[in-house]
Symmetry: C2
Subunit: 376 residues, 2 copies
């Protein structure tokens, strides 16, 4: 095994009291694994929407400016005043970035779980995967199956377990079908494959005709395009057919969560039903797990009183999930890593390239079909 260098390069994000975010590639000491930790040489780490929030701090990247030197580049971008209110706790703290990745375990603590991973290529979840090396807990490592490499395993945590978590949540909370927004995303296509395999009716909501086509080409049965004038009627029809009363929403801002609740209510209350002043007694739920749209959530209430909107995140879901169930989910991810849970990357970039202005403005867009992979 090659020697581990004493220092390494790592991407950092800093919010300053001047209302700016400052990105840099820092040279820092390579960390040493504790007893129950492993050190991974990171080979690939995806840029997920959940990483961008921390990395870019909702700054206006169209006004980003390059700085630093060739070897130590920096980028600064202004953060709008209203956004700063929610970032005061970050000011002055250099944050590491990157929620997941894959690489080779090059050092391990003394514990048996850690030692068992030494030399293995693993997918893993951490908080600093945009760096040459990264510590992880063995619990958060998935040894990759025969024939899978680090690129295959880079996205083996966040999207696969989020998609499986949605289906688990649906079953645990007594629903029998799902609605998903931003459904043409990498995560959305993964959820579509799971639902097709598991016979779970899924209503896919997208925002553009080409996204609808992409999903239909992948076998999606119910696709509703919010840019179509018939969107609300299409959604009611799909909800009536599937009986979906649970939605996962990546958008989070604007009217979509309320539109889904209203469409669910319209699907439940048929036109010839007797009038009930409080609406149907069927519980309708939207879980918001993203914030693609930063505007406030706006709920126009025509959905009675049996409803809920709430936050949903992977980490608390995993914390609530028992060991046996979690093992079952991870087993499935490992077994179907290059099929159901395959991710496709359009661009591979180095840590330094991540600070190139044009590249940064491209991955900041989170465009459908585009996905970046950091190769530290």
């Amino acid at each position: 095994m090659p020697e581990i260098p004493a220092t390494m390069r790592q991407l950092r994000s800093l919010v300053t009291s001047d209302n700016e975010v400052r990105l840099s590639v820092a040279t820092v000491d390579t960390p040493q694994p504790g007893e129950r930790e492993v050190l991974i040489r990171v080979e690939a780490a995806p840029v997920n929407p959940s990483d961008l929030g921390l990395l870019l701090a909702m700054a206006d990247v169209s006004r980003a400016v390059a700085g630093g030197s060739d070897g130590e580049p920096t980028v600064t971008a202004p953060i709008p005043e209203p956004v700063m209110r929610s970032l005061t706790a970050r000011i002055g703290q250099e944050m590491t970035v990157g929620n997941e990745g894959a690489g080779v375990v090059v050092a391990a603590g003394a514990s048996a779980e850690a030692q068992a991973l030494l030399g293995r290529t693993v997918g893993f979840a951490g908080g600093a995967t945009y760096g040459e090396y990264c510590l992880a807990s063995p619990r958060m490592c998935l040894p990759l199956p025969e024939g899978a490499d680090a690129v295959d395993g880079a996205s083996s945590f966040v999207n696969p377990l989020t998609a499986l978590g949605m289906v688990e949540t649906m079953r645990n909370e007594g629903h029998s079908a799902l609605v998903h927004t931003a459904a043409a995303s990498n995560l959305g296509r993964m959820l579509n494959r799971i639902c097709l395999a598991d016979d779970v009716p899924l209503v896919n909501i997208v925002r553009r005709p080409e996204q609808a086509r992409l999903l239909r080409d992948q076998g999606a049965v119910h696709v509703c395009d919010s840019s179509e004038p018939t969107f609300e009627a299409d959604l009611v029809a799909a909800l009536r057919e599937t009986g979906a009363t649970l939605a996962f929403d990546a958008i989070g801002g604007g009217t979509i969560a309320g539109q889904i609740l209203n469409a669910m209510e319209a699907a439940i209350v048929t036109p010839d039903a007797p009038y009930s002043r409080y609406g149907s007694d069927v519980h309708k739920q939207v879980y918001v797990y993203g914030a693609l749209d930063r505007r406030p959530i706006e709920l126009h209430r025509r959905f009675g009183f049996a409803w809920g909107v709430g936050g949903w995140l992977l980490t608390p879901f995993l914390a609530r999930t028992g060991g046996e169930d979690l093992a079952r989910l991870r087993q499935r991810v490992a077994g179907e890593l290059t099929t159901t849970f395959a991710s496709h990357y359009t661009d591979q970039i180095s840590l330094t390239e991540a600070l190139d202005l044009e590249t940064l403005q491209r991955y900041a867009r989170m465009a459908t079909g585009e996905k970046f992979l950091v190769r530290p």
Copy 2:
């Protein structure tokens, strides 16, 4: 017992396809109780906010017009176009009105529970209490204690069980303190008395200084006035002191639900806490049980991902509550009917007077401190 007349007078509300609501006092057959029903001669029925939604159909009462004859008055008022969308299921159906009331059981079905109530003065929940007679299920009747009359018992269901239901929900869902909006309402003052008696910390949110004074005069410890420039800071301070992570909101429209969630999060995350990209992991919940403000609910998200907003209604709460718990709650209402659960009425009106334009415009305002009692 006096003879029961074959016909009786009853208030009706009709939504027409001309976008109007039409109120009338109809003469209808007096109903006969089924085996498990009782017939009550209604002596008093309160006008609750929950009655007004059905009665007035959100019409513009400032443009109401009187009609009919002296003995059979009618009122019509235009319904704004956007409101009509949620009322299509009502068009052409004459609706009875009045959720609760009190009176004497004058006839009873053959069942033992029904017979046991014959001749008793009871508080009761129904759907047609704005009439001279009304059917009810014995399960929804509360025999009034010695010394209490129909006026005392008229509001013995909706507000008392709603207020108790909030405290029960708080305990069942693992919270230890409460927030309440529109807290100077009849219901709010009742909740304040319950929380003082039970040592439940309560944060009262009101919209005017005189409402704050009224609650403080009744012993309320935490009162936050949303008309004050210091409102948000006051709310955070009260939430930090009480630890409240559950709110019941009667307003429902505008920014208040989101403001409460943001203040809860600010109270939990102290300024010196390390930055967490997903916010605190303490679940923060707002239940919306009213619609005093008809605008959309607008959530400005600075409260992380551990949150929920949802509908809450008395009827499903009662359906979820076991028989023993329900008996305990009803017992408490009966025992404290003229103290904790006392309602005060500023005006008593007949069925005909309910259709007097000036009177109607007054009770439609739902002004703090004003409460109307219908005496059919």
